[in-house]
Amino acid sequence: MATVALDGLSKRYPGAAQPAVDAVSLTIAHGEFFVLLGPSGCGKSTTLRMIAGLESISSGKLEIDGRRVNEVPAKDRDIAMVFQSYALYPHMTVFDNLAFGLRRRAVPRAEIDRRVGAVAETLGLAELLARKPHALSGGQRQRVALGRAIVRDPKVFLFDEPLSNLDAALRVGMRGELAKLHRRLEATMIYVTHDQVEAMTMGDRICIMNGGRVVQTGAPLEVYRAPADTFVAAFLGSPPTNLLPAQIAGSVLSLGEARVTLPRRAAAGEVVFGIRPEDIRLDGAAPHARAEVVAVEPLGAETILRLRLPGVATEVLVRAARTVPAKPGEQVPLAFDLEAAYLFEPASGRRLARDS
């Protein structure tokens, strides 16, 4: 259990034009499950590795429990890490893999046996203790990697995309396990992933990174409902938020040929109109526009419709009910939930605050 504070942390590789991590400042509270989320190459893994001590810090300050640890070597930071590839010692048994870190810290033998036994029990590894990694399945290896971290009883747990090498069914199961684990251990956990479902379901707070910078931090639903810019809006949510070019004049939004009256005045000019597929209804009563159905994708539990609004080049995605009486080529009426819609500035992508 510890707090972790990043203050302007940066990582610059020699010869690179841009820093890999650019002045990242975050505060992670005691016992928080904090997720670093972003596309590949956004710097989230590098940030994690700097916290771990596996990458040197180019500039900025890193504090664990109020103590500056920039120069402290990784093994002295009292952290444990679960690697994406598990990084198990191939030549050691599961027991030795779990016990190794403790042995290296001169923990007495009886204590090691007790701790390893307890962790093995919790993670269902008790029968596998004599096996070597190559005789384990992917899911089992992942649990050993997890066990190795837990057995150390560290101040902070770091996870580097631990579920990405598992198949879909296992992933769903492990998500639940990790969440349960967090509640049980009440430990500070920093979790890196590119999978927004993991982030949304597991995180107490999520931090979206892009291009080495923090784009937005907050509770999952907050970030979901109030994205800071088009990047976050498009990144969170599946199918992604519709981002449509539009113009505003007075209280009227022009979306292609459609005219939508906004509930409030907004600054005139070009905007990007953002609306999530679940916030568009196929409502005949008071439609904002009519669109042509391009494709219907029945997913079983719901249906995704691809529509084309006259005058708008981008397809509009709509989440509809299980059975939708619409076929490609037909016209359907659309109603937008304007309270849930976003307006973004076209140039920077920043969300425009609502005027009252």
Partner: protein, 298 residues
């Protein structure tokens, strides 16, 4: 599984691809091996061949020179690999720690491997020269002139001196291989060790060396095989002398076959046959001893 026409093996093609290789192999490897064994049961003179049964083998058992040569060769094949691989491992670890100029070092250390044993032999005959050779010159320059020796002229020192030469030659090779093995280690496992409170020493002992064990053993076996075959270096430097202190099986065989008073090829063939069995046996034993019990998957 559906049997389709694709499952029929294209025998014509297979034979065509393998034929040239096997013609060469049969004519110039397999047949000679058999012929050598056949020779060993005969007295093979330029114009006649007489069957002598196991007489050659009996004579071989008593042949002092042969057994001295076998001893020398085994000493060489036992000591040299250990020296070569150990020093190479230390050097590879030094380079692995990202010392600057790594590429240059790697290339420089590999050069002795490229040279013909003939060239190497001549150079080291000069280095070992008593009067002006580099070895003694260096000792004298350091004020250790009392230690200057006739390195390859002294029956006690000749073999160690030659072993030193092969170590000089092959350490660079082993170093390059070990460096490649070190670089192929999964970095995350080493990082995990870092987090498990391993300093450099502990990482080496508990993680790195166990993971490259297979390569180390492989190099030991390769070096062993190479030393069992050695001929060129001895022939150029000492020709087996002084007093057969550097006589190896290969030089002894050559002398018996092509530089002996009798022109009998039967007896040297016996030497070859016995040596063949010994080498194969030794390699089998080593491979069995060094077999990897588990696959190290990573």
């Amino acid at each position: 599984m559906v049997r389709s026409s694709v499952d029929r093996q294209p025998w014509g093609a297979i034979v065509a691809f393998l034929l040239p290789a096997f013609v060469v192999y049969t004519a110039l490897t397999a047949y000679p091996v058999l012929r050598t064994f056949w020779n060993s049961l005969h007295r093979v003179l330029p114009r006649s061949e007489d069957f002598v049964g196991l007489a050659n083998y009996a004579a071989l058992a008593q042949d002092e020179l042969f057994w001295k040569a076998v001893r020398n060769t085994f000493v060489w094949a036992g000591v040299a690999p250990v020296a070569e691989v150990t020093i190479a491992l230390l050097l590879a670890l030094a380079l692995y720690a990202r010392v600057p100029g790594m590429r240059f070092f790697r290339i420089a250390w590999f050069t002795p491997v490229l040279m013909s044993y003939v060239v190497v032999g001549i150079i080291w005959v000069w280095i070992y020269n008593y009067d002006w050779g580099a070895a003694n010159a260096l000792l004298r320059a350091l004020g250790l002139g009392r230690w200057a020796q006739a390195w390859i002229g002294d029956p006690q020192l000749a073999l160690p001196s030659l072993i030193f030469v092969t170590t000089w030659m092959w350490t660079g090779f082993n170093m390059v291989v070990l460096l490649a093995a070190l670089h192929s280690l999964p970095s995350e496992v080493i990082e995990a060790a870092e987090l498990d409170n391993c300093g450099w020493g502990a990482k080496l002992v508990f993680v790195i060396i166990p993971l490259i064990k297979a390569t180390i053993l492989n190099l030991l076996v390769l070096s062993f095989i190479g030393k069992m075959k050695i001929f060129d270096l001895v022939w150029i430097t000492t020709k087996g002398g002084p007093l057969w202190s550097t006589e190896t099986v290969s030089t002894y065989l050559y002398k018996r076959a092509f530089e002996w008073t009798s022109f009998d090829l039967g007896y040297p063939s016996t030497i070859a046959a016995v040596w063949f069995v010994i080498v194969l046996g030794a390699v089998l034993v080593l491979t069995w001893l060094f077999r990897q019990r588990d696959r190290l998957e990573y």
